[in-house]
């Protein structure tokens, strides 16, 4: 696979389910490009089509329409090649409760064609990397939620795939295990693995992902870096107050090109700006040279929830059951 190619490219990817005589379009034409080496997040409420899209890209579900290239191979015609190059960690995990973690890792390696010795060596590496030494030789049934999730991720990494799919990797985990999984995802990213994950946690998408696509009702409603998406929606909000009359400060700042909207309210000046971190020093300088004395200043950034609300007309928190 050429180094400059994209990890995933889809055109008009569709999936239709028939249930009780009704036809449901779970994925309604998805065009997507995931670049090599990035952490790409697929964000949306339950039932939006996240998992269905992921399962199609991981060869588990045949698309009803459209085309896709995954890890440099044609999804429809070269499934074998796609499977060799990708790792997949489903929502349920994938390890058997009755089997020991190490045994699962060795078996998984063998399925990718490794010799027994090579598979054992790789299993030992992963056990060390994911800090599973304490439980590797016990049945999975005895694992904590965090240990189990790390083992499941290990199963997806056995063959060192160039592209890893994670379906809601932190759902149901306690905050500490969640942070641990985030660290692992960042490590993979540092080693050059492309990560495609789904989540319905806004903070997760914000903290981990280089770029995000928001999907709703089977369609991508917006796509970009978390910063871009947030800026696109409303911009940052700078709230300040000066000694004396707020009107003077408002009049001064309202005229600046970087201010989109301005108003005073309850003795405060509210300014919507494109980039708060750049606007703040400029505001300070302007007020200073006009001889106005600043009393308070604060910066508030929009959340991805604001983005979601703006794009779909609903709050993600309401829809994510």
């Amino acid at each position: 696979m050429p180094v400059d190619a994209n990890a995933i490219e889809t055109r008009g990817l569709r999936r239709v389910f028939k249930s009780r005589g009704r036809v449901v379009e779970a994925v309604a034409g998805v065009d997507l490009t995931v670049r090599n080496g990035e952490i790409f997040g697929f964000l949306g409420p339950n039932g939006a089509g996240k998992t269905t899209t992921l399962r199609m890209l991981a060869t588990l579900l045949r698309p009803s329409g459209g085309t896709a290239t995954v890890a440099g191979a044609d999804l429809l015609r070269q499934q074998g090649r796609v499977r060799e190059r990708i790792g997949y960690v489903g929502q349920a995990g994938g390890s058997d409760r009755e089997i020991m973690g190490r045994t699962e890792l060795v078996f998984q390696g063998r399925l990718y064609g490794m010799s027994l010795a090579a598979a054992q060596k790789r299993a030992a590496e992963l056990i060390e990397m994911l800090e599973l030494e304490a439980c590797a030789d016990r049945k999975v049934a005895t694992y904590s939620g965090g240990q189990k999730r790390r083992l499941d991720i290990g199963l997806g990494l056995v063959h060192d795939p160039q592209l890893l799919f994670l379906d809601e990797p932190t759902t149901g985990l306690d905050p500490q295990s969640r942070a641990r999984v985030w660290d692992e995802v960042r490590h993979m990213h540092d080693r050059g693995t492309t990560v495609f994950l789904t989540t319905h946690y806004l903070d997760e998408a914000d903290a981990l992902c280089d770029r995000i696509a928001i999907i709703d009702r089977g369609k991508i409603v917006t796509l970009g870096s978390p910063e871009e998406l947030k800026r696109e929606v409303a911009g940052d909000l700078v709230t300040l107050s000066v000694k004396g009359d707020q009107r003077a400060a408002l009049n001064l700042l309202e005229a600046q090109p970087f201010v989109r909207e301005a108003a005073t309210e309850e003795g405060l000046v509210r300014l919507y700006v494109d980039r708060g971190e750049v606007a703040m020093p400029a505001i300070l300088r302007l007020l200073d040279s006009a001889g106005m004395q600043l009393v308070t200043i604060g910066l508030q950034r929009p959340s991805l929830d604001d983005v979601f609300l703006r794009k779909t007309g609903r709050s993600l928190r309401e829809t994510a059951a």
Partner: protein, 253 residues
């Protein structure tokens, strides 16, 4: 080559799981053993009835028990598969390049091996009761039972992948296997049955397997029913393997 290697790997995984719980072999043998101890003695008195084949009650009854073992031993294998679907194991295996046929065959081989072991135990236990058989006959009968196991297990796995829940799988398996067994002459030879029952049984493939097994135990290895029964089971088993492998290829979790 890849299919053989993959099948061997998958077999190894499930055989390992199985021998950690050998209780299932014991349970599999107990039921036929109870038939042998508590039901077969009744046959001695009706063995003289017209329509009952000559050759001794046990040589007529044990082949039926073996066929029953082959079928019931494999009919329940879908339960563990449904548990694995829930744990995401099947989905995880399907994302690897492992051959889909191997996902089925590796498991079915484990089931077959356990059925063959149980069959051998049953044959040995029946010897003191007066069962007679020659070494070639044992091989032929075990091959026949293995084919029945492969046929039943493949269908059971396909059904489990299709239904995905114990609540629908259990009734399907139990309500379908009982009539198939009753209409195969497993317990009593169909020679004793009224004509209408015999005509229905003639449509049941398993009745040909029972005929074949009985002919072997009665020492008629060259009887055409033997070839017919084995060939029929082989053809059906191959079809079932295709069906099962397809189900593994398409399973939607």
């Amino acid at each position: 080559m890849k299919v053989l290697r993959d099948t061997w790997l998958v077999f190894g995984r499930y055989w390992g799981l199985f021998i950690h719980n050998p209780v299932w072999v014991a349970i599999g043998v107990v039921q036929p053993l109870l038939y042998l101890l508590l039901f077969a003695p009744l046959l001695s008195s009706i063995a003289k009835t017209p329509g009952f084949p000559a050759g001794g009650a046990y040589n007529v009854f044990v082949p039926g028990l073996l066929v029953q073992l082959g079928m019931f031993g494999a009919a329940g294998v879908g339960f563990s598969l449904i548990a694995e679907l829930r744990m995401g194991v099947i989905e995880r295996l399907r994302v690897t390049p492992v051959s889909r046929v191997s996902l089925l065959l590796g498991r079915a081989l484990r089931d077959i091996l356990s059925i063959v072991i149980q069959s051998l135990i049953l044959i040995v236990l029946a010897l003191p009761f007066g069962l007679s058989i020659n070494p070639i006959g044992v091989v032929v009968v075990l091959a026949l039972i293995a084919l029945i196991g492969l046929l039943t297990a493949s269908i059971a796995y396909a059904a489990a992948l299709w239904l995905r829940s114990e609540d629908s799988y259990a009734p399907l398996i139990f309500t379908s296997s009982l009539p198939i067994l009753l209409l195969s002459g497993v317990l009593l030879p169909l020679g004793l049955a009224p004509r209408w029952l015999r005509s229905i049984a003639a449509l049941n493939p398993l009745s040909y397997a029972v005929d074949a097994a009985r002919a072997v135990f009665l020492g008629h290895l060259d009887d055409p029913s033997v070839v017919r029964g084995v060939a029929l089971m082989a053809v059906l088993a191959i079809l079932a393997v295709f069906l099962g492998a397809r189900a593994f290829g398409r399973a939607v979790a």
